[in-house]
């Protein structure tokens, strides 16, 4: 039995000519997670950066060329990349990464999604039928996805299965310690009411027990209008927000306008890895997010 297992491992190692697992991550956060788990066993390509709205990416030729060679596509899922990823996958001529195959991994499939709409109607804007796709800003989700991702990486690259499991074990140890630290640090944020530019932070505010009292976008994906911003200003009297949050890829003009009118701080959060100089990796992302929120509270 043991010899068979060893033989199988050797065979698998021999068959996978390249030792590297070629990973195509649609967004920086899940690319960073794959790197945490796989380390130098992973050859990572990240399709977008923190300054790009992941909803609005074009199916660029460079993306096709990268998808052609990928053995694992990690997507945020829940229709976040629906405007470009399906086309990239189909035109890549790469069967391994098609939805339904082990080479296609959707992070949103492994967490409890929030804001699943009861009615799917574009009258409510660019709603995602599967719920809010920005799942990574709850660190508990990162851990859940990490467990599934490590298993998937081990499945695709059996030769390095042990390395991925070890990578996950090391990551989850550090992550749990960091999570305890963040939760402690962020205790003053509990119950704090905030305005957000787009519904990008629901998992973050849910984790920290903060309250979202309004979005600058009148409907998801619809740019803020002066009428809507005016209405938010009116609501500030009845339900005051303490700060207004936006990502690195969103325009600052509208949050600054609200900040100027109400005196509450406009806070830029990194949103994903690379969004601020401090958010160099997943740990930096949450360190910086918590610090910026606390600073906004002062």
């Amino acid at each position: 039995m043991k010899y068979l297992a060893i033989g199988f491992l050797l065979l698998a190692a021999a068959l996978s000519a390249r030792a590297d697992l070629n990973v195509f991550a649609t967004v920086p956060e899940w690319g960073a997670l794959a790197k945490e788990i796989g380390g130098d066993k992973v050859k990572l390509y990240t399709a977008t950066n923190a300054f790009q709205d992941p909803h609005r990416i074009e199916a660029k030729p460079s993306l096709l060329a990268q998808a052609r060679q990928a053995s694992l596509v990690i997507a945020a899922g829940a229709d976040l990349e629906i405007g470009w990823l399906p086309l990239v996958l189909r035109d890549s001529g790469n069967p391994a990464i098609q939805p339904g195959r082990p080479g296609y991994f959707e992070a949103a499939a492994f967490v409890t999604r929030l804001e699943i709409p009861a009615v799917v109607d574009r009258a409510h804007g660019d709603v995602h039928a599967a719920g809010n796709p920005h799942t990574h800003l709850d660190p508990r989700n990162v851990l859940k996805v990490g467990e599934k991702l490590a298993a998937r990486m081990a499945e695709l690259d059996a030769a390095n299965a042990a390395a991925y499991q070890a990578g996950l074990a090391a990551f989850s140890g550090k992550w749990q310690a960091a999570m305890a630290r963040w939760e402690k640090e962020a205790a003053p944020l509990k119950g704090v009411a905030v305005l957000v530019h787009h519904q990008s932070f629901i998992y973050l505010t849910n984790w920290l027990g903060m309250k979202e009292v309004g979005t600058l976008e009148p409907k998801p994906g619809i740019e803020p209008t002066s009428g809507h911003l005016g209405a938010l200003l009116q609501r500030q009297q009845a339900t005051p927000a303490r700060m207004v949050l936006r990502t690195a890829y969103q325009q600052d003009a509208q949050s600054q306008w609200i900040a100027g009118k109400t005196g509450i701080p406009a806070v830029l959060l990194p949103y994903t890895v690379g969004g601020t100089p401090e958010a160099r990796d997943l740990f930096g992302l949450f360190d910086d997010t918590v610090q910026r929120l606390l600073k906004g509270l002062r």
Binding site: N49, A59, L87, P102, Y104, E155, E223
Partner: protein, 461 residues
């Protein structure tokens, strides 16, 4: 295993206990019990870990993923449906038979006797309403159909299947599809940046401004970090510039190559070269003879088209949402060679071609367009387009004396501005000065709407 270990531990402890008195004996027994318990626990966890590790290395590679996608109800099997609503208001000159001077009149859609072709409609009009149905057929194939509906007619614009699982960068498509030649050719009117197609596309492929194949397409994407793709098509070849010929084998062959990449994080580009060869048999077109009488010309022979295309897109930090810029240009060169016959279009009105006259026919014609579109806020875009064709060298042989032929360079300049409430709705205002017809300067004003309902179709680069 753990029993022998525990017994060995007890024996060792027993040996040490010989010299001890009874009071010590009880303490030692308790210690032994404790040791035994702790060792048993440690061994049990070790065994569990070993079993886990074994199952992970041997079983996991064949284990199916539990849930890889967001679960959907059974209606999720229904195809993705979308519907495009498009229409316009147009102010322009009343020209009975709109063509492009110096170019062979390309047949368009015939929507019945007396119907005004879409391209000549003034005032309010509704374009084709496009119904798009698409879905994965199984793990190996995907299918799509586009039905264009207009006044009592529905026509199949596209109906194809394509491969998903061939691998090695290979893509196979079969059915009716927009050919992969050029850049604009694959795009449906709702994706155009202007209300109408460039003159060059109308001159090449007729009023529909796209070459559609009934056939097969083979594509290969190279395994390189720079995008490089080649493709070849074989089809029926019944569409302009070819004609229906009722034959075995392929009636048209097309080939194309695309290369593209990013420059920094903000710029992307794609360039392509394409070739189309097809044949025509008695391809009809109306010509004006030397006496100003309408004559019917028929061309039979080979038609070869070269196309070069280039697209460059810029967006700050690669984020096109707030601002982006797109430049696109294409060049066409067509060579046609064969026989030409000229006869009266109307026997009651005889002209220079009475009785019919055959001659050779040889043309080499070219054209280009260049356009830029700048999105300066999330909702507003503005664009400019300039285009020019060259009727080029035209040799009608013996028929040259019968027909009124003039060398002409059709030109058109267009400016547009459009507003989008969301990705799904757009309204456009366009001004054009059209000098595509000799002696006519047509100032055109178009107000157009494009609305898309339903599934969120991804657009090509």
């Amino acid at each position: 295993m753990q029993k022998t270990f525990a017994m060995a531990a007890m024996l060792a402890a027993a040996g040490a206990a010989q010299a001890a008195d009874n009071a010590d004996l009880a303490a030692i027994r308790a210690q032994i019990d404790e040791m035994k318990k702790s060792y048993e626990q440690r061994i049990a966890t070790l065994e569990k870990k070993l079993a886990q590790a074994e199952s992970k290395t041997s079983v996991q590679p064949v284990a199916a993923p539990a849930t890889s996608q967001v679960s959907q109800p059974a209606s999720g099997f229904n195809p993705e449906v979308s519907l495009i609503l498009q229409g316009q208001y147009k102010n322009m000159k009343d020209v009975p038979e709109r063509g492009i001077t110096g170019f062979y009149p390309a047949g368009g859609h015939d929507h019945g006797e007396g119907a005004i072709p879409g391209i000549s409609k003034r005032g309010f009009s509704v374009d084709h309403t496009e119904l798009v149905l698409a879905a994965n057929i199984d793990p190996y194939w995907r299918g799509q159909a586009i039905v264009a509906m207009v006044d009592g007619k529905a026509e199949i614009e596209e109906a194809w299947f394509r491969s998903l699982g061939l691998g090695h960068g290979i893509g196979l498509k079969g059915g009716r599809f927009r050919s992969g030649i050029g850049y604009l050719n694959e795009q449906h009117p709702h994706m155009w940046d202007f209300a109408d197609a460039p003159l060059m596309y109308r001159a090449m492929f007729g009023a529909e401004a796209s070459y559609v194949q009934d056939g097969v397409q083979f594509k290969w994407l190279a395994p390189t970090t720079t995008f490089f793709e080649i493709g070849a098509e074989a089809g029926r070849g019944a569409n302009f510039p070819g004609t229906e010929r009722n034959k075995n084998g392929s009636g048209s062959v097309a080939a194309f190559a695309h290369v593209g990449d990013d420059v920094g994080v903000s710029n992307s580009w794609r360039a392509g070269v394409s070739y189309l060869t097809t044949q025509a048999k008695a391809r009809e077109g109306h010509f004006e003879d030397v006496g100003g009488v309408e004559a019917l010309g028929k061309f039979s022979g080979d038609s070869r088209t070269w196309l070069v295309d280039f697209v460059w897109k810029w967006a700050p930090n690669g984020n096109p949402k707030y601002q982006n810029f797109k430049f696109q240009a294409e060049y066409l060169n067509r060579h046609e060679k064969g026989d030409f016959s000229c006869e009266d279009a109307d026997s009651a009105n005889p002209g220079a071609c009475t009785g019919g006259l055959n001659s050779l026919y040889r043309t080499r014609q070219s054209g280009w367009y260049a356009q830029s579109v700048y999105q300066f806020t999330p909702n507003w875009r503005a664009g400019l387009r300039y285009e020019q064709l060259d009727s080029g060298h035209r040799d009608f042989g013996a028929n040259a004396v019968n027909l009124a032929l003039s060398d002409y360079r059709p030109k058109k300049a267009t400016a547009m501005i459009d507003y989008s409430w969301s990705e799904f709705s757009r309204v456009r205002l366009q001004f054009a000065q059209d000098k595509s017809m000799l002696g006519i300067t047509d100032n055109q004003l178009t107000v157009q709407y494009i609305m898309s309902l339903g599934a969120h179709g991804a657009h090509k680069f």
